[in-house]
């Protein structure tokens, strides 16, 4: 076809619905970071990025047989709808799990959810109008921030230190929010083995945090995915154990059993629980009966506490490999937390080095992490990176940290040549 023969120009409408999306969908666009994470999934890359549990450590044959028996013996229930509150038998078992953290709960107080992520979504849905304030640690779990953003919440971050949330910073954030003519709807906190910071709220601070929130009439959302994965001593007493009226507790089987079953739960004061059930009904009608009964059977028939102990030992070994490698390989100017459980080390980078800007070079060097920017609602946090040690073997962790150290050294050289990366000054 010659140019003279070309037809009249036409606008290509690749998405005919542009202009019709809700305001909250404006930020849902393709991103370089997601593109880089697509590479991180390849086996050539040592991924210290995703927070995936090491499910290969599960007795997969036994779990498979258990699921086979479940379908054969309870198929009519497992493959049927159930109530939005969740299977009663599973909720009884969840009470036993929470008793390990000294929570005394009745099965009626529990709502089963699709992982604890759905509990976050439902809580945000029932509490947050656009512009409402949520207090959250600085940094905070990226999945929670995503749920909060989808309801257009305004997140006010509260500083942490090595002992977790700082009570004075919480008081100050509450006062600052009130002075701005706003009232925070709830405090979102991950008190144990924080994601991403790796720190744990000190025992001495816990009553103070609860007291501050009680005095301010501030609901606490206690998200505790890693509570049973501590490396030193038994599980810590949950915040909910000391304030059943002021704390909504979120739990999950993603880290203690299997992330793929997508079963979590919320324990909430009665009025909140009722709204959660109604919100869950409108969201999904009911959750997967099959997944719920799988977890129920797992808890009833498998040595699950022994398995959690195995997970703890496995993750402790990987934590040790991570810290040892960081101690010996990281260039000057880096600093990091020393988690006593869970999956994460929070790595602080040398001044002027930006974790997001550094990621493409890291991927080229075949190591991946999550830039700190994902853990702040305003996209700050570029001077940090989250390292997750749950999935790679200790040898792979050491190799990954060796590669990362080399990448950081190059970034330091670039910083010296071109000045600090934007967002790090």
């Amino acid at each position: 076809m010659t140019p003279e023969e070309q037809p009249a120009s036409q606008r290509q409408r690749i998405d005919p619905y542009v202009g019709q999306y809700a305001e909250r969908a404006v930020g849902m666009v393709a991103s370089e970071i997601r593109a880089l994470f697509a590479v991180a999934a390849r086996p050539e890359i040592v991924s210290l990025a995703g927070g995936s549990p090491y499910v290969s450590a599960l007795p997969l044959d036994a779990v498979g047989e258990m699921i086979g028996r479940l379908v054969a013996s309870h198929g009519d229930t497992a493959l049927q709808y159930c109530t939005a509150q969740g299977d009663a038998g599973l909720r009884e078992r969840i009470c036993d799990v929470m008793a390990l953290e000294e929570i005394r709960a009745h099965p009626d107080e529990i709502v089963v959810t699709v992982g604890s992520q759905q509990a976050l979504d439902l809580l945000t849905r029932i509490f947050i109008d656009p512009g409402d304030v949520i207090l959250a640690e600085a940094p905070s779990y990226v999945g929670a921030l995503g749920a909060f953003a989808s309801y257009q919440a305004r997140v006010v971050h509260v500083a942490m230190d090595d002992d977790g949330l700082i009570p004075e910073a919480l008081e100050e954030a509450i006062a600052r929010t009130a002075a701005a003519g706003r009232r925070a709807k709830f405090l979102y906190t991950v008190p144990n083995f924080h994601n991403p910071a790796g720190v744990t709220l000190a025992v001495a601070r816990r009553p103070r945090i609860l007291d501050i929130c009680q005095r301010a009439g501030l609901l606490v959302v206690e998200d505790n995915p890693y509570g049973l994965l501590g490396f030193d001593g038994g599980p810590m007493r949950a915040l909910r154990a000391d304030d059943s009226d002021g704390v909504v507790y979120l739990g999950t089987f993603s880290k203690t059993f299997a992330a793929g079953v997508r079963v979590g739960w919320a324990v909430a004061p009665a009025a909140i629980k009722d709204k959660l059930i109604l919100a869950a009904e409108s969201a999904v009608l009911c959750h997967s009966s099959f997944a719920q009964l799988t977890v129920r059977e797992y808890l009833a028939t498998q040595p699950w506490l022994e398995q959690v102990k195995d997970f703890r030992e496995l993750y402790r070994e990987r934590r040790d490999a991570t810290l040892s490698a960081l101690d010996t390989m990281m260039p000057a100017g880096c600093h990091w937390t020393r988690p006593a459980g869970g999956f994460y080390v929070w790595l602080g980078l040398p001044d002027g080095v930006h974790a997001k800007a550094m990621l493409p070079r890291a991927i080229s060097s075949r190591v991946a992490y999550v830039p700190g920017t994902g853990f702040y609602a305003d996209g700050s946090g570029g001077q940090y990176a989250r390292l997750c040690y749950s999935l790679p073997s200790p040898d792979r962790i050491r190799e990954g940290i060796r590669r990362l150290a080399s990448v950081i050294e190059t970034e330091i050289e670039l910083r010296d040549d071109f000045g600090p990366a934007p967002g790090t000054r």
């Binding site: 076809m1 070309q6 037809p7 120009s9 690749i14 998405d15 590479v39 390849r42 080229s364 040549d417």
Partner: protein, 317 residues
């Protein structure tokens, strides 16, 4: 006609354009299926050679973008295997993928291309970044456009309108590669022209005009449906349409490209077109311009892919 009973679409790879490549691969496979050809999508991983050896393909359609896909490496290996493939040979890919090389060769054929300098990271380190930056601005002026010398999808690339922005733009660029191509930014209409050769010599497809939103034609603008507007054919005067078509054919020919390519250009306010870069493995996603241009010129996407594969199979390794 050769039977296309074992077609492999190569997609993925390890570059930052992996996700885009996987989407391109899925789209090519689906289009082939609609045209009656069953194809499998394979990644360029450690299993690939074993698979191709065990079950030699009738032809391979590589849609790996970025390094290894476009720098000729994969095609060199396909050649070693004796596997017929769609697209340019490795040596041509090497010249086309390296943007400064491609610019120089195309410019030598009399085509306009924005003035530029190419500098490795070490030059800034060894000679002092501030002094080198001063020299760049003194030579090229402002605004500038910075991009890695190799790579695509605008990763690590962006405009510089103020001298103070240049250091951070270079930092972004060097995150994706160790050599920067620093071009004088030519303002105007952004167009891209596909070239296809179905046996009768390279033919330019209708130019596609790209109208990005406020943030420019960056990664998000490229791969978020609706974020960028495209006009096919480009809203350009006839003589400019002819000019961009000639440039695309010239780039394809001068670089020794084969089967298909896509040339990106800018047309300034006087109607002068400038060659920016050429792609030997153009995107085939739902937001990519080559499939749009094919459709606008009456080429069904799937049928065209089949013809390219038939051509490759006939040609042999």
């Amino acid at each position: 006609m050769y039977e296309l009973d074992r077609v492999v679409v190569l997609a993925g790879g390890l570059s930052a354009e992996r996700e885009v490549s996987l989407r391109s691969g899925d789209r090519v496979r689906d289009a082939l299926a609609e045209a009656g050809i069953d194809a499998v999508v394979a990644d360029a991983d450690s299993d690939l050679l074993t698979r191709l050896r065990a079950d030699p393909p009738s032809a391979v359609f590589p849609v790996i973008h970025g390094a290894s896909g476009e720098d000729g490496a994969i095609r060199e290996v396909l050649g070693l295997l004796g596997a017929p493939y769609v697209g340019s040979v490795a040596s041509a890919c090497q010249m086309a993928f390296d943007k400064p090389t491609a610019k120089a060769l195309v410019a030598a054929a009399g085509v306009n291309t924005p003035p530029s300098v190419t500098l490795p990271r070490e030059a800034f380190h060894d000679l002092g970044a501030a002094a080198v930056i001063d020299l760049i601005i003194a030579r090229l002026g402002l605004p500038l456009y910075i991009k890695p010398s190799r790579g695509g999808s605008a990763l690590g690339a962006g405009p510089v309108r103020d001298a103070a922005e240049l250091p951070s733009a270079l930092l972004s660029c060097f995150a994706y590669g160790d050599i920067a191509l620093i071009e004088r930014l030519v303002g105007g209409t952004e167009v891209t022209v596909g070239v296809i050769d179905l046996g009768g010599g390279p033919q330019a497809l209708p130019a596609v005009e790209i109208v990005p939103g406020d943030g420019g034609y960056d990664y998000a603008a490229r791969y978020t449906p609706g974020k960028t507007e495209f006009y096919v054919p480009a809203r350009l005067p006839g003589e400019v349409v002819a000019q961009v078509a000639r440039i695309a054919i010239a780039a394809h020919t001068v670089l020794g490209l084969r089967d298909l390519s896509r040339t990106d250009l800018i047309v300034d306010e006087t109607g002068t077109a400038y060659f920016l870069e050429v792609n030997v493995s153009p995107g085939m996603t739902e937001t990519s311009t080559l499939p749009m241009a094919l459709q606008a010129s009456g080429h069904a996407f799937g049928t065209t892919c089949v013809r390219l594969l038939e051509q490759a199979a006939t040609r042999g390794a």
